[in-house]
Symmetry: C2
Subunit: 105 residues, 2 copies
DNA sequence: GTTTTTAACTTACATTTCGTAACTTAGTTT
DNA sequence: AAACTAAGTTACGAAATGTAAGTTAAAAAC
């Protein structure tokens, strides 16, 4: 009577993509490799949550973290191939929003 | 120095689509019009949150709510044109998940 | 050689959101 | 009158989130 016939891969994808901030972070990283502080300022996320999400996206192999041993140390984040493969999803969202979303009331 | 140059329409779209459950609910409703209890059982969401999200999606004109005056009363939910227009987004996610997401570890 | 500066985090804590389970409502059937 | 049903609603504890201050390490400034 009650079935979840939804594909487990798709469910997992939704879990990652719908976790708050993740889609916006990926969108931001589509611009190219960026440092922690840049992402933070551009996206307007708190450092507590940013660190958490970047770690999650790294574990999911969507984002790659690189340490640049300057002083002070700088960390660069960039999309992996798996991450770049999300571009069509973001493009579809952009397309939808430009056609259907309006901000006025 | 710190700019949010992200398009407000796109930001709003993300806000709606990334709100937990919403994408899954829209995915479920792509199957066709459905009653409250069907959605609840298929998706595995609590009634408290389901009611909240359906109300949100109705306000955003993504979902339409119809009262069927049977006994007991039945409510049918279906996607609007704006809601159906999200199909490409969901398809892109499905495509990505089938290529890149694996469940094993 | 002590203080300051900087990037990338951590931590503590208050606020908000979420999940669970029980309850409500209003028209039937029993 | 009591029971049943669909679609919610309510109360409340648990989990996630935002805010702001603190930490670390090395090197540049004083």
């Amino acid at each position: 009577m009650d079935q979840k016939k939804i594909c487990p891969r798709f469910e997992k994808a939704l879990k990652i993509l719908n976790h708050s901030w993740n889609t916006l972070l990926i969108y931001q990283l589509l611009e190219g490799p960026q440092r922690y502080s840049t992402i933070k300022n551009q996206v307007g996320i708190s450092s507590r949550v940013l660190t958490e999400r970047l770690k999650e996206l790294e574990i999911e192999n969507i984002v790659k973290r690189t340490v640049i041993p300057s002083t002070p140390v700088v960390i660069e984040y960039e999309l992996t191939e798996k991450g770049h493969a999300l571009a069509p999803v973001l493009k579809a969202m952009e397309q939808w929003s430009s056609t259907w979303v309006n901000i006025e009331e």
